[in-house]
Symmetry: D2
Subunit: 365 residues, 4 copies
Amino acid sequence: MKRKVMVLTGGGDCPGLNAVIRAIVKRASQEDNWEVLGCIDSFNGVLKTPLELVTLDLNSVSGILVKGGTILGTTNKGGPFHYPIKNSDGSWSSIDRSEEMIKTIKDLGIEAVINIGGDGSQRISKALYDRGLNIIGVPKTIDNDLSATDFTFGFQTAVQTVTEDIDKLVTTASSHNRVFIMEVMGRDAGWIALHSAIAGGADVCIIPEMPYNIEKIKDKIEKRYINGRGFCIIVVAEGAYSQSKGKIYQESKEIGYYNEKLGGIGNILMNELIDAGVKHDIRLTVLGHVQRGGTPIAYDRILASEFGVKAFEMVLEKKFGQMVVYRHPEINSVSFDKAIKEPHLVEANSRLVKTAMGLGIEFGN
Amino acid sequence: MKRKVMVLTGGGDCPGLNAVIRAIVKRASQEDNWEVLGCIDSFNGVLKTPLELVTLDLNSVSGILVKGGTILGTTNKGGPFHYPIKNSDGSWSSIDRSEEMIKTIKDLGIEAVINIGGDGSQRISKALYDRGLNIIGVPKTIDNDLSATDFTFGFQTAVQTVTEDIDKLVTTASSHNRVFIMEVMGRDAGWIALHSAIAGGADVCIIPEMPYNIEKIKDKIEKRYINGRGFCIIVVAEGAYSQSKGKIYQESKEIGYYNEKLGGIGNILMNELIDAGVKHDIRLTVLGHVQRGGTPIAYDRILASEFGVKAFEMVLEKKFGQMVVYRHPEINSVSFDKAIKEPHLVEANSRLVKTAMGLGIEFGN
Amino acid sequence: MKRKVMVLTGGGDCPGLNAVIRAIVKRASQEDNWEVLGCIDSFNGVLKTPLELVTLDLNSVSGILVKGGTILGTTNKGGPFHYPIKNSDGSWSSIDRSEEMIKTIKDLGIEAVINIGGDGSQRISKALYDRGLNIIGVPKTIDNDLSATDFTFGFQTAVQTVTEDIDKLVTTASSHNRVFIMEVMGRDAGWIALHSAIAGGADVCIIPEMPYNIEKIKDKIEKRYINGRGFCIIVVAEGAYSQSKGKIYQESKEIGYYNEKLGGIGNILMNELIDAGVKHDIRLTVLGHVQRGGTPIAYDRILASEFGVKAFEMVLEKKFGQMVVYRHPEINSVSFDKAIKEPHLVEANSRLVKTAMGLGIEFGN
Amino acid sequence: MKRKVMVLTGGGDCPGLNAVIRAIVKRASQEDNWEVLGCIDSFNGVLKTPLELVTLDLNSVSGILVKGGTILGTTNKGGPFHYPIKNSDGSWSSIDRSEEMIKTIKDLGIEAVINIGGDGSQRISKALYDRGLNIIGVPKTIDNDLSATDFTFGFQTAVQTVTEDIDKLVTTASSHNRVFIMEVMGRDAGWIALHSAIAGGADVCIIPEMPYNIEKIKDKIEKRYINGRGFCIIVVAEGAYSQSKGKIYQESKEIGYYNEKLGGIGNILMNELIDAGVKHDIRLTVLGHVQRGGTPIAYDRILASEFGVKAFEMVLEKKFGQMVVYRHPEINSVSFDKAIKEPHLVEANSRLVKTAMGLGIEFGN
């Protein structure tokens, strides 16, 4: 019988997930007698009846390197510790099925689990490891906000997508003397906004870590116009908020991603600028999940491939309870405790913010 | 002294404007003794004091083929027939400065004017031609809604931009079992939505010409899911509206492009779907002016170059009062009367709509 | 039992083949009781034992719209009229298996065949139709050289690929004052070269239809330099040749695509320019099959989808012995006789060549 | 009078040069009383009569962030230490004009020079610094082969360009069961080949640091085919060579980039594979300078901007005789001595080579 490793992907997707899966399978195929199983929709594949598990061989991963998304599916709902059950009165509650799930995995003869996921997923990894599961983590966050790793795959692709769209706005902005607001991802961390503002040559960058003063943004806009001619590109992270109003971002399952009444920070900011007296035409772009999709750029494919190869080698070395990390110039690993500590946020006095300021970018704070 | 032709761009910009300008200059440079003048910000360049005119030689147009926007600037404000003036009480009114402007142009020794612009711009062209100006039109509309020409430059670039972003949404939609709404340009004509829905493999296409019934869209969404798995891509033109509510699109100069309270058709549709009982996650992308920007694709560069060469040759032939058109397989011209007649809208029984239906795309009407 | 239609792809591939297949399957799924079978590697799938046929349902075509290549495979070797057999002495000859193949297809209960392929494939279609097979053609040629249809899918994608790479060359060419030669596809027809030369703003365009005089090209290069500064972009189709030397293109199965000793027209041209005394740095790019690959652009996806929907509707109408064509603004069909007549070549006095000359492009003839 | 800093770009260009220039100008504009001068064509601008110097203000650098190439021009010819002079007999020799040039620069009141260039350029920087010029270096190499800095701008863009073209080859390769050879840049260092082989999912990667054995490559190709079906993507760096034949790369000014008789490593390899008995179709792509061109990807724009800001800040700090480097996570500087030591080559037992092997990539050595 073959030795078995199970792979799954959890949380919001980002470009490069398939490249990790492919690398695990490619590397495993070089060892005698190993079989890779894919668990569908995060851990739900081993919580459902019948089980949803697929065998992943070289054929299964052919052609997936270039594909966004994840061939294994993913979900934010359910999971071993809070599995939803319907009560007799029709209401819902959740139960802890972790012990049962660990038993299922062991009964299947699975020696190790590789969990590719973000902060939330790795907290689950840690809890399962503490209960005796042989588990290894691979970090995944489009926001690049994990302090344990220098970079995560998918982030550079998102930045590239935003940058290309800023490039498109610049040409039309300058022809029409307009102000453009580009709302990008980033609820808590402004990394996508910061990187794409520098790369796109934006004039204003607004991030959650540096609450804004609308007057300062207005002033910057006015400085960009001479005799009525000029334009201004503003990049704003979805989780940004003004100093006066405080944090307004909220996600409601019922109404979708954006706050119904406020219409997202892009809309809010546009209206605040109009109220503050900005007379130039203002137009809004909300990229949304376009940032999470598409084929990963080369940088992310390489990083994801390195993570995948490393993860399987950690299985061989029985290095459980650890998450793969990139600590330049090494691909290494850290314990789950270290993996899930404080998020990595933009600091106002950091190198990249100073570079941005050196380029004349206004943070509005 | 050199013979002079003046070129200007009017209305909203679209990829390929610079390619037209470049082609005019390149072609003019092959004739002895011609000089091309660029008028800044549509006709405003010859209405301002001092005049804003630039000489366009081969050097001026070097490298502009690949650039979006227009090196001459453009505006929707002012113009010869409704030039704004400030009254003594601070209020604004407008006056007709067309006669004065025509005189200025003739006094400058300009023999012909090439006006690159949309429907509104060509109405001005016609009125100026009727008043004695030697003027030639080049059509421009991102929406491809002119009935006099098979295609206009910029349209295919916009469709390509939307399609690439739908491609990105598809990968993430299928991983997460989500519904995605992609709001695209098109206030009256649904061509961008229709083309990009087919090219992107969307499931639903909602256009102004075919008002929607929310229940039909909901039904289509549900059909796309089996056992809770599935996804749905909806492309909606900004000017679309439901059969029950009627047309809601409005542009207000004060509040910017989107209706403040309603937040655009994308938001409206999302909320209607939630109200109608759709339980799947719905996410929204609003591309906005990204669709008008960027480098033109090859198709549009070629079409724009053909328009430019033709326009200058019409100057040589003194073929005034005409607009360049593409009537496959010829580049030809029509009188302004024909150029500005009824817009070209999507018809429910047209070939392309039938193709879309043959592919299973739901129009929701 | 279901009614059956068989689909296959033949000859060199080009972007959009999968979009045609998908459209056939999508459209067929709307009719009761139809099944689409895919024949692997052109007709070889019904010539081999065991047969290589796959059932194509909505699931099979999910996600293929964006994919280059063909999920059915293709080949230039074999085919029903010249199927290779190994003689007893080890040498190879070929036999006509067309009657047998037609019988196999009919025995399988297949009512109609859709053959997606180029000139050679449609000649086979015609011969099979003449022998009683219910067959319909869909045109495919990266070179756009069929006179029966205005455009074929894949062509615009190839032109876009070349144009984007010319854009990249222009920036480096101008920084270094270099001459760049870009060798593109086109053995007999120069359409890719002509379109991409206009779209990329090239200075010289060399095509098989207009044999070149090396001195004229040298003269054009020199005119592009002033005081040693300048650059020159030359696009040359692989089948081009000089007036003095005559046609040199040849494909040899043994040695691969390029002539071993001469190294391709790009190399030949470079050496001729050096021999003619051009002192500027000359660099060469040979894109090769990159032009045939990649995801189709929106234009080609739409055209391919229209072809696929139309082809299946012709099956329903029993319109056999015909090939789908695009005659703007209609998708129509013509008999195989008309489909395979004279190729559509660039004519020296055609509209597009005149446009190119109007832009200052030198053809060197 | 304003304080003056002079900027120049030397050697082969790569995407991001303009982003460095822009960052220097943007940062300088924040200091009172500084003027940035651009020296045209490397140092030649201050060696010619009249001088070729341009003032670079915010207007000069508007829009250049997205542009490949360098607005200042560059050259590999001439330079202060080997300036060409024509002898009375018509032959050429060269003289050392470094002292004179340093004097010219000082007489112009230029306080500091920023030299953006590769290994050769920084050797010149060091020699000029040793002779008393206040000079700062910014590293530039498309090959990423400087040991003093983790990454250089332009490299990731080149890798991305190659990877996108490999993606295109993969689709057509698999449809046709072909072998594709992709020849990429890298005379001494195989970094572009290694990165793009991993990112593109290539099967074989051949680099100068690991001379190849043709039989091993043939074996790998054969393993990729089962029953005649399969394909193989080979990435080869231009400076690669076989173990048996030794180094063959040579650049000859007279004949252009590729060796006339051998036709480049791509051609050589193709012929060796045919000679070795590979029967599958083999096709070749030679990207050439396409890899050096185009708009820089976001990653490179950010890195280049950081280098530019840092370089000007080093001018303020009078930190001369140093080159800017990126030592993750810092932007720092090292002395010219350290900057120009041993090149950074691929090592056979390095992390990335092991990752590549873990993915099944054959190096053929």
